[in-house]
Structure formats: structure tokens, C-alpha cells
Assembly symmetry: D3
Homo-oligomer: 305 residues x 6
């Protein structure tokens, strides 16, 4: 069996992925007029599904898209998609699990495709464990491109949409210099904002610093880390932080759905800290593993050889 | 015959539109990681095709997307698409003609869809002549939403991409108040920027004012109007203009591929000028008709009844 | 008896309102070079008079206007004005009560009007209970105009002055679309700021969010609600909030001297919450009524018929 | 005879100034919700009256105030006001001549003052020739306060309104240090904007520099100087200029209705140029005198003794 | 003995100050490419040396300058420099004690000066007790110049560098008006930032307000005051504060290495508070004296005569 | 003979460079409180010396530094310094020639160094011809760091000062990725500004685009190129240009004192144009060589081997 056998939910039906084909007049394709949300499995168990779907519905409300389904229905469909695809996974693999909702077709296109409402897709894909495994050994090289994160007065970064060109433009600058570096964009005031699907944390004298929630898409992993840190008695401060904070940090790490927590080795070529991971990052990584009852670091590192 | 018989170019083949279906893992769908350009026909003749394709290639260069085709090839394909679809048109109808290029599929998706490079679509669709006909009789009601146009430091407005959510968010504010009003967004300094596919012009004592080219997607229609105005001896000034200029204008109009020139009746409910169209707008409209050798206003107005 | 019999304090004397006539060379008229503050009565009792007068004196200090009277004197005068006018009220009516201080006349005008110092007026006027009664039944339709609130680096929004044109310009945009909607302006970063005399609150999962005090005129009603909420065990966060927060809110309401608390039905046409008022708004409204020992909602609603 | 005998136009009647008393509930007083425009006489002849009234009507349109009078009527009334008051002038005195239009009374106030529409005042007052005479001998000491000019996205500086507190707040900073210095505010980007009723010009190698027209109230005197300079073969550039331009200027001067042209001696204490006035300023001053056929400099300087 | 006998550390040696001569091709001279930090002695005891050196190393990390010495070595050298110079002090004098590290010489200059790494200087100089003594009697007159503090996106204000021209440019505006006034610059949003080596605090109803740490160089004295205030049960809020807060403050004071705490008499000519120092300032001054076990106010005031 | 024999002017004397040693208490070292200007020789002839010295004096005026010398004296001294050092040059070498003026010593330091006024240095150093030779063969790789150019409201970029840390911080980001790439910083709006001593030009369809003069230090080389281009009939537009303009340019080049004109190969890794140099760059290079009567490109390229 292979990825070619994966099943996805597509507008009311469970179909092989190869059949999930979107009319080119779908607004999701023409305009990126769509939202999505993504969680992952840990040892084949879906992580915080309800929280992700709740965030998906906030994105839908912001853009006034009616998905034509209740939150509960999306949760149920997602569970079903995972169940149908788990047999395709190797035992030590896991899935990204994603819901996507576009506004659907423009009325003029309904002559050809008579679909009245939103386009809904729920799908999963194996995590890129092998490609990202070196990040846990070597740390992530972070670069801040000159492109600035879109400001909230134009489009809220808190909405997880199909409009990623701002982040992609930032990433192109970075990958032209170092294909395996990760871009973290600054906001229009020069504060650290976020990467493509990732949030940044700094450690200063045992305190965690991370950008204010307004300027970034506050990941579920980010919130999980904040909760775990506070439970561990660490102070967490959400505020405007900038390159001074980054260059003088004791430790730094990224969070994302797939990475959970992964240490940062350097920012713009300036080495951060003395160990990889640093002690606070290690402490939080272990707490994260306990919380999800799964050794995601080991899962990555075993791909190294 | 109907729209259902239209033919489009899709990754090397001319196929019925119903077969132009994009894998949901195409970056054009997932991220709006795609660009496009649109011209129209006048009396079944394509307008300034080479200029539009040239602008398409500037968009491609900005985003470092390789279309896998030369500009000449795209021009030729576009001509062929139009030729194949002209028989479907009523004599007094015309087409929007559009090229779309996405970055293609993420490598991980090639297991299912083994397409290596960009996704290229060339397509056409009849202009919404009936829906827009009243605009030429009544003028356009323009509103400036509170959402600001994405600034160039985040993503250049001069690139015609599949990332339209900023403009859509502005449009949602406006259509909630007046479904037939058109949104023209301000930039982050409060200057008039642009609408979704449209440019704005003001007339002050016989001089044309229009936003600087850096802050907006400078439409081919906009450039055509500027050229025609200068040929007619009118002064045209491209600079930062704001609501003061709009409210005190003698006349105002929008330009776009489909509208060419269409008079503005009011801005945020404040009536502009005394006649619809005003004398300069009328003069430029007539010059435009002569230039394209086609009475596009008549084409619209005959739909009123 | 009627409004024509109302008495006001005017530069040292208690006179019929019709005699409160300001020389057109008063700087309050020529430049809006004046400050004011407004409280209301509840069941004919004046609300937090000392706090309002204290705020008035902060406004005076910011603009370096010397009123020529102590805070205590203004409090006393205000009490006297109310006392003299209470007999004119119907039993179930109440007053707005306002102090106004302009910098006075330019020296060159003293040839005609030999008044050396500030112009001081203390006056009252019945609340517009009938006009606003539907807001408590239907909720307020809030719109955010494209005009931005004047930034503090130009003129502090925390000073209650006679310069209202920024707020009026925002209101003109809104009322042209919907005469009974209320404008809430965004600040120059696109965050929610304030309306003309009103503050906005959002409810997210039981937490109150309201703009930071620096960017808005922090109303006494706003502060009263914050105090009542904290006494009720609700969390209140003052921070930058934007349209994402508004569109995804569970509830929203405005506060102002006259409204106290009044629920918001929609923001830019997007419906907020499921009930009017929502449960937290209702809880705070009831606490407010208890605090002022007066059913201001009932006072409004009885005007509906 | 004295100023106490001056006549003004007030809502349809010509009355002694002492009778021009505005109800305190007029929106012009409560909110500064009013516009004005001011010209002067030269040797008892009114300067560019039509241009000033035209600008007044642009201000009215911006704020959607209906004056209830045609432009021609305002011109005629102004002429009449001047005619009636000229006999009060000494032969070598001249008038400021001003039209003021407020939006009028709130409906609730009409119980007392049954005036339905706008409040219109046309008035004149002698120019402060003696007070300002030293400026032509010593030059103006200009200071740039820390307060920034209100940005156009909040309220257009091009509208001449009764909202002057931003300019007044800037002036308070300056006059606290040097009571006879003039404040010229910077805009929110740090560019030179304008003073209270005055525009600034710099001379660099024979070229005139002055702020762009969007950011300032473009005075009629400013436009007159630009016209005269161009007729004299000087280059005039309207663009963003800042303190670097000011400190390195060869000459600098202010223009305003009363001053026409007056040389600047220093900016923030840094001396500008070597002569007062410098040669270009002198050339333009002479051209201005010829244009208005009046020696306004001599009129000022004769007050020195 | 005199200042001419002072000893300084210079690139590995303790030499008379007159021998501390920097090659003009040192990047510290050519570019200000250097950092420093300064503490003082209290009764000949060095204050918080370790904290200052730690901050020095954060500055070095931000600019990627390798000083070629450990933090401990710098602490030790500093102690030695103080020891060697204490005999030169009068009993009631004290020193500023400063470390300076430049990036050193450009490679091309090493032909002449064969120094490979950083330039390191540790030096001391007597505090200007006599010049500043009046400030404790009269309070500091603070002025906010029109020049804005360099924003963090250009160069972090938290790094104590040899690039002081932004602060110097602000100071020049102020000293041209009042040579003994102190400049406190606003940031690019118009908030109070900092002076040249000084931080500002306001007192409002017993609460201390001071700018956020991101926008200013957070002095050790500033942090000492915050700690002392909190120990004394006072609330301290770090947030954006502006001229409204300053003009309406009950008290205000500056902190700096030399001043420790010194009351502000006025801001832009507007008098602050009723007593000098105000009660909270006095309380904190006394706590500061106890903390450093030294009456620094008395040390200053005894210079008055 | 070697560089060790070079002579420089230092505060009134011509001395060997090794004796140009600046007291560490010179404000030029402590604060970068100094300005400079640099020209070069072409075939041992000094280029546009008067223009450079004139610009130096504008920098001095901005910072209110009195050099204690006339412009003519500086020109003469510079000539003398060059004359004395020319014998040290190989025939095909040339000099950078630089004047530096610091504000001098703080008064307290005059006990040791009794110098009352400014510190003045005039010096020269051979151009780094060998190091930069590959740039003419391969083109310059330009990168735009995330650090933004200091805005004019903080410190004018048009003043050539000893405060270079903003540009150095940008350069550190870039050289960490590619040690031989050149940083060109963006301004705070995201427009292309300048590099450390270099200006950028783009070629679009035969038109030259370069940033507005306000935002950058307008180099003499930049002005020379503009003059030469206009003489050659090319259009030159100074305006806000951004990364869209760069990525879509036909050609691009840098200008600086040493480089004169040097082609850009890529911006952020995106290749610019098809030839190195492109035809317009080549045309302007040739015009530049003719203008200075010297083949500076050949001078560089002969160092390749």
C-alpha cells in the first residue's frame, strides 16, 4: 500500500485522494479564498482535534464562509478520515491531519459544476520525519528575511488561510541563501513574528518570551508549550520581541504542529546558546513528550543514520 | 452550445473546462501560490495580449515561478484558446481571457500526481455584461472599507496573484452594507489604493489624478487611459491621493479589464460631480471606444431593459 | 415648563440657556480650543461627579488652560445647575450634565468683549431616551469607517476636547450607509479604538477585552464596567484588539455615559453572538443597575411602544 | 470709531460684531464642527476672494456641510462686509476677511434656537501689523515641536476647520520656550508640514522647496508664491522635505495670508542663511508686492520705531 | 595630583590616560563601531559592576564583536582601574567607571597598527557633581525635541553603543532653547523614550509609569528603582506612555548612572507636581540612598553655595 | 616605501599616519559625533573635490559642528595631502581621499588634552582594487537584510557621519550568509534605500530608477551617473522603488566612490538580467570612464589573474 491509496473526505464523500480535484474556478484556487487547520497524530492518536476545529471555525467567521457543516460534524469526519488511513501508515509514522474549506465556486461557474456551497476537504499525509530529522540533532538555522509579515490591518495573521504568498516570499529570500534554513518573518515594526506554520520562543534567564498573540497565528503547539511551561513553574511573557532579544537569548526554539518543539541553532548566522537543546528547551521537550505520551524526538532522530 | 462546451488549455492540452480540475495538493490551491493575468476581447478581438503576458512574466519573476513556457508560447496558446471558444459566443458578447500559472505540486504529492513543474491554465469566460450594465447608467457607488491594502513590504500589490483575501476582506465589509457597491481600499497611509481588479481616477479641473503605480496593480486599462488622456492633451498626475481628493473631485471613474472606464456616482455616499458621466470621463470613454474600435458602453447598456 | 426654561452656569452667573451665547471670537468657537466632560443622572442623582471633574482637570492641564476655578468650585456649580433644573424633568427622565471650559477670547477681541480668562459653562440636557431605546432591544449595529482615529502623537485621544471632526468624519462615512449605525474608529495600526463618546468591549470565553487606555478616551462608564467585571470575578484584559477579535467574539457591547452598557448586534454587518444581550453583557448590565441603584435599561425600553 | 463698531454678516443679517453670539449648543462651538477661510485686503482691496471662497466650498464638501448659500452669494456678502467696515480702518491699515460656516445646531437645541441649517458668519478684523512688524526686520524664529501634524488618514490637513488643537498643542510647546517663536509641525514621518496658518519654503541653490500639497493646507499665499517664482524662472519643487533640508538651506521663509512672505531667521536655533531676507526671498517679496500692487513689507516695517 | 594622573586600561596595559590614543582607523572612531557600559562609585565603592559588565556583553553579542576577554576578566580589570585611581579622588568625590570595546582596526590598517582584535579601554572620570548639583534643588527641565529615537528595527536602543548622534541631534534642538534643559526623545509613535543615558519615570496616584524596556536602554538605575519601588509596595507599570501622561503626572523623575534619581520640574515648560521632589520621588530617593548606603543627594547639594 | 609612510593632516599639521591618534575622550570616538566625506583619485587626479567638501559642510551644518576652517582651506589641505602621498602609489593605483571632522573633546577632557575645537583629519588610503576586482567580472550579489535603514526622523541618512552601526548591523546579517555579498538596506517602508557607501540603480526598459534623494546619502557618483545618463538621453526617475522593481529589472548596478559603477548579478539570489554588464550599464560605464578620462574598470580587472 502507498500514499496513492489514501482516502480523503471531499464534499460529502470519502474518496481516494487522486479524486480530490478542485475545479479551477473554485475560489480556493482562484483567490486562495479558503481556510484550513492542521493537527497531527502521535502514535496514531489525533492531537487536540477539537481545539483545531474550533480555530478553523474562527477563521471561517472572520471570512464569513459558511462551511455547511457543524463543528461536531467536522470533528467526526476528521476522525473517520484518520481511521480509514491509519492502516496505510508504518507503525512508527504519523499523519498531518488537515481540514480545508473554500468559499466554493463563483455563481457563473455553476453552469459547469453545480455545487452551491463551500468546498470541504479533510485529508491526511505522513509527516516528513526523515527530511526534518537533522533539525533535532543540529538545531534549526533561522533567518529573518527582509519581507515583513502582513499586518493585521490588511489581513489578520491569526486566520489560517490559503493565502501564503507573504510567507512564501519571505521563504524564497532565505532558501536562496541556505536551502535548509527556516524563515521567521518580522512584523512591520521589526518585531519577530512567525514562520510558515511555526512560532518562535526565546529563553532569557529561565523566562520564555514569545511574540504577542495578535501578530501571529497562535499555534496549538505554541499554546501547549505555554501551558506546559507554566505548569513547570516557568514564567512566560507574550510581548513584542526583536532581534536584540534573539541575539542575546540563552536558548531559542520553534514550535509547530509537526515539530512540536525543535531547538534553534542560530539566528541570521549568530549562534544561540551553548547546548542543543538548551536545558529549558530540553525540559519543555520532555514535558511535551509526556503530555502527548509519545517520544516525537525519538521518532525523528531514528530517521538519522 | 453553452459555457459547458468551453475549451481551456491545461498543462499542455486543450480540454473541455469541466476537465480542468486541480489536485487539491497543488500549491495554487493550498497557498494561492500562483499568478494570473486577464485581458478581454472587444468584438471578439483580444486586447493588448502581449502587454498582459509581459506583466504575467513580471509576476512570475517576482515569485520565482518557472512556467516552463516562453512568453511567445503563452501568447500563442492564448490565441488558440480564444479561437476555439469564439464560436460559443453570441455576436454581441465578449470574453475575459486569463492565463494562470501555479508553482505546481509539492514534491510529496507527486506520488499521486506525477507532474513535475508549474500548473498552467489558459481560459476564457463571457464578460458579465448584464450584471454590470446598470453601472454605466447609474454610476458606481464606491466605498472605502476599514481594511487596508496589503503594503508592498509584505507583498507587492503589483503582482497579480491568487492571494486575494485582503481585497476580499475589504469587499465583505462593503457588500454587507450595499451589495452592489464596489470597494476601493486605502493603503496603510490612508491613500486611495485600488479595488479588486480596478483602478481609480479622479478629475480635478481637467487634470486626472490616480494613485502612484507602486501601491497598486497598474492595470493595462489604467495605462491605456493615461495614454489616451495625454494624447488628448489632458494632464495626468500619479501621486498619493486621499479622501479629500475624492470628495472634492469634479468627476471620478474606475478602470478595469472588463469595465474599461466606468463613472463613479459616489464615494462613501458623497455624490461626485453633477453629471454621469462627467465631461472628461465621457471624452476618455469615447477615446477608449475609438482606440479599441468598439463601443463597449453600448455593449453594456443594451443589456438594460 | 420646557427645555426653554433650563438654567445654565455661564461665566459666574446662572442664566437661562437662551442667554448662553458665545462670542464668535471665543477660541472655543474659532478653534475648538476647549475641553468638556459629561456625566448623567440616574433617577435624578448625579453619577460620579468628582471623577468626571477630575478628568476635566487633566484635560485642562494637557492643554494648559486655566479655568480660573478650583475643582471643588466646579463640583459645587454642577450640583447647583442640576438642582435648579431637576424640576423641569419628568419623573422618569434624566439629564446629561456637562462642564465646558474654553481658553476664552483672543486679546484682540477684548475690545468688544472684555472677558479676560476662560469661558466656563455648566449645563444639562435631557437624555435622548426615546431615540436610543431601540438599541437595547435590537442591539447596536457597529461599523468601522475607513477614517482612522487621530493618533496620540498628534493629539491625545484621552483629552475630551471640542475638536471632534475626526470622529465626525468617521461617523459621516457610516451614517451615509446606515443612519442608525454607530461608528467605532480604528487606530492608525488598525486596532479598534473608540466611537464618539463610546468605548467598546468584547467577550471571549468569559473574558472581557477592551482597547488599551492610551489609545482611547477612557470613559468613566468603561472604568465602572471594568471594576464591576472584576468584582464579579471576570477577567478583563486591556490590549490591542482588532477586527479578528470582533468577528470571533461571543458578545460585544458599547459603554458610554448615556448608554452605560448596550449590546452590539453586529460589526460591519457580521452578527455577533447568539443572544441580545449575551449572558456576560446581561450580567454586567444587572451589576451596573445595582451599582447605580437604577434600572437604566427599563428606563430606555419603556419608551418603545 | 473703533473695532466695537465693526459689522459682520450673521445668518442673513448685517449686525454689529457684538451681536454675533453663537448658541453654546452650536456644533461649531461644541465640536469645532465648522470650516472657515480667510483672505486679507491690500490697501483696502480684497485679495483673491473667489479663490478663497472656492477653497471654503471644498472644505464644506469634505465635511458634507451645506451652507445654504451659493459661492457667488458668499462672495457678494464678503464684499459687502468689507465695504461696510472699510471706513473704520486707518488709511495704512488692512483687514483679515473671514467666512465661517458651522453645521449649525443639534436638533435637540432647536427648541430654544429655532435655526434649521448652517451657521454662517462673515467678518473682518484689522491685521496685527504692529505685533508682527519685528518679524520682517529680524526674521522668524521657527521651532519644530515634538507634536506631529494630524495625518490625512485621520483628518485632512487640507480642510480649513475649526479644529485647531493639534496646531495649538504644537504651539504651546514652542511658546513655552520662546513666546515669539513660530511653530512649524512635522508630519508623522518627520517631514516639515506647516504652522498654524502658515506654509514653509526653503531655498537651495536658487530652487524653492516646499512640502507636498497633500500634507498641508495649501495656502493661497503659498500658491501665489509658487506662481510668482515660476514666472521669475525659478524652479519650485513640492516634495517631502525635512530638517536636513532646513538646516542646510540658503534661505527660508514662511507664507501666510497676513505675512504674505516673511523671512525665517533660524530653525530650532540654527541660523539660516547670511542675509535677512536672502536674495531669493527678497526677489519674491518684491514680485509679491508688485503682484498685489502694495508694499506690505513697508506697511509692517513702518510700525517699528 | 590631578586628572592628568589618571590611569586607564588600554589593550592589555594600565597606562596614564594621556596615552590612551586610538588610531584614527579604529572602527570605533570611523564608524562608532563600539559598545560601552558605565557604572559609578558611591563613596568610592563600585555599584553593580557585574550587572553592567553583563549588559556590556549583551551589547557585544548583538554586534558580534569579540572582546577577546571573559566577563570575569573585564570585571577584574575594572576593579583594578578603580583601585589605581581612587587615590586621586577627593574624599567626597566619586567616579564614573566605563568599559569600552570597539571592533578594532580594519585589516588594511594593520600595516601601520598591527593590532589584530578588539580595542578595549577601561577608564574612570570624576562625576560632574558641581555642574549637576542645581538639578537636585530646582528639578530638571525636560524637553521633548522633534527628533525621534531611532527605532529598534534600525538599531536596538537597548545596545549601549558609540553611535549617539540620534540622541545628540535631539539634544541640540533642546540646548539651543535652554542650555541646561535635558532632552527626552519620543519614539517613532510619539511615546516617551529616553534621554542621553537617562530613563524617565512618572508618578500617577502613587503608581510608577515608565516606558517599556524594548524601546529604551534599560538602565541599571532604572532597574534599581523598579526593584526598590516594588519592595516599598508601589505598583510599577512598564508601558507606552506619552505627553498626556507627562503633563498630567503628579511627579516625574529621571534616573541615570550619575543622577540615580533626580526630580523633573517641568516637561516642555509645563510644571509637574507641587513639590520638588514630590513625596514618591522623595521616598524612592531615600530608599536608593539606603540601598547604596550613600547620600548621593547630599553629595550633589553640598556643591551648591 | 609603504603605507606606513603615508602622511595625513591632523589638527593643523601634516604628520605620518601613525601619529594620527585620537584621544579616547574625543567625541568622535565616544559617540561617533563626527562627519566625513570621501572622494577618490582617477589616475592620481582627485575627483570632484569641491563637491565633496561642499557636502561635508552640509553634514557639519546639520550637526552644528564648527570645523574651524573654511571650505577653501579644507580643499587646499586635501590637495596637499594628496600631493604628499602620490609618490607612495604604484602608477596604476589610486587613493580614497577623506576628510573627517569630529566635534572634538568634551570640556572635562581638556585638562589632559587642551584642544579647544573640532578634530580635523584629512587622509588617504589606496583603493582595494584587488579585493573588488571580481565584482566587475561576476557582478555584485546584493542582499537586503531584515534590518531597516534609520529613518530621517531619527537621523538623516543624507549626513555622512561616523555613526555606521545601522549599516553595519545590516551587513552582519548578510555576510553571515555570504561573505562577499553586499547589503542594500530597505527603508522603514520597505523601499530600497542604500548600502554602506553605495547607491543602487535599476534599469527598466531603458529607464533608470533610483531611490529618492531624501532617504539615502546621495553619492557624488550617483549624481554623476544621473548627469551622464541624462546627457545620453536616458530617462532617470528618482522615486520609491522596492523588491518588485529589483526582481523584474532588466539590469541593476551599484555606484560608490570606489566602484563608480559596478553591475549587480543578483538580488537575494534572484538573477538580474541576461548579461554582465547589461547594455545600459555598459553604456553608462563607458560614459563614466570618458567623463573621468580614466578606465577604472580596466584598473580593477587587471588585478584578476
Amino acid at each position: 500500500m502507498s500514499g496513492a491509496d489514501r482516502i480523503a473526505y471531499f464534499n460529502g464523500r470519502y474518496v481516494p485522494e487522486r479524486e480530490v480535484l478542485v475545479p479551477f474556478r473554485d475560489r480556493g484556487f482562484k483567490y486562495g479564498d479558503a481556510v484550513f487547520d492542521t493537527t497531527r497524530t502521535f502514535g496514531h492518536r489525533v492531537f487536540k482535534l477539537a481545539e483545531h476545529v474550533e480555530r478553523l471555525y474562527r477563521s471561517l467567521r472572520y471570512l464569513r464562509i459558511d462551511p455547511g457543516l457543524t463543528q461536531d460534524a467536522i470533528v467526526e469526519i476528521t476522525g473517520e478520515v484518520v481511521r480509514r488511513n491509519l492502516p496505510l501508515l508504518e507503525p512508527d509514522e504519523d499523519y498531518w491531519v488537515t481540514q480545508r474549506v473554500s468559499r466554493g465556486l463563483d455563481p457563473s461557474a455553476r453552469e459547469i459544476w453545480p455545487q452551491p456551497g463551500a468546498t470541504v476537504i479533510v485529508e491526511c499525509v505522513p509527516l516528513p520525519l526523515r527530511e526534518r530529522a537533522p533539525l533535532y540533532r543540529d538545531g534549526i538555522r533561522v533567518m529573518t528575511p527582509s519581507v515583513r509579515r502582513t499586518p493585521p490591518e490588511a489581513l489578520s495573521p491569526r486566520v489560517k488561510t490559503h493565502n501564503y504568498l507573504n510567507l512564501i516570499a519571505g521563504g524564497l529570500e532565505v532558501s536562496a541563501q541556505d536551502p535548509s534554513a527556516w524563515a521567521v518573518l518580522l512584523d512591520t515594526s521589526g518585531n519577530l513574528a512567525e514562520g510558515m506554520g511555526s512560532n518562535i520562543f526565546l529563553v532569557h534567564k529561565g523566562t520564555l518570551l514569545t511574540p504577542r498573540e495578535q501578530a501571529v497565528l497562535s499555534g496549538i503547539s505554541r499554546e501547549t508549550v505555554i501551558d506546559l511551561a507554566r505548569e513547570a513553574g516557568l514564567q512566560v511573557v507574550e510581548k513584542d520581541i526583536d532581534l536584540y532579544d534573539a541575539y542575546t537569548a540563552d536558548e531559542a526554539f520553534l514550535t509547530s504542529t509537526s515539530l512540536c518543539i525543535c531547538p534553534i541553532a542560530s539566528v541570521n548566522g549568530a549562534k544561540i546558546g551553548n547546548a542543543l537543546p538548551g536545558p529549558v528547551t530540553r525540559q519543555l521537550t520532555e514535558a511535551y513528550c509526556r503530555f502527548v505520551d509519545f517520544d516525537f524526538v525519538g521518532q525523528y532522530l531514528k530517521r538519522l543514520s
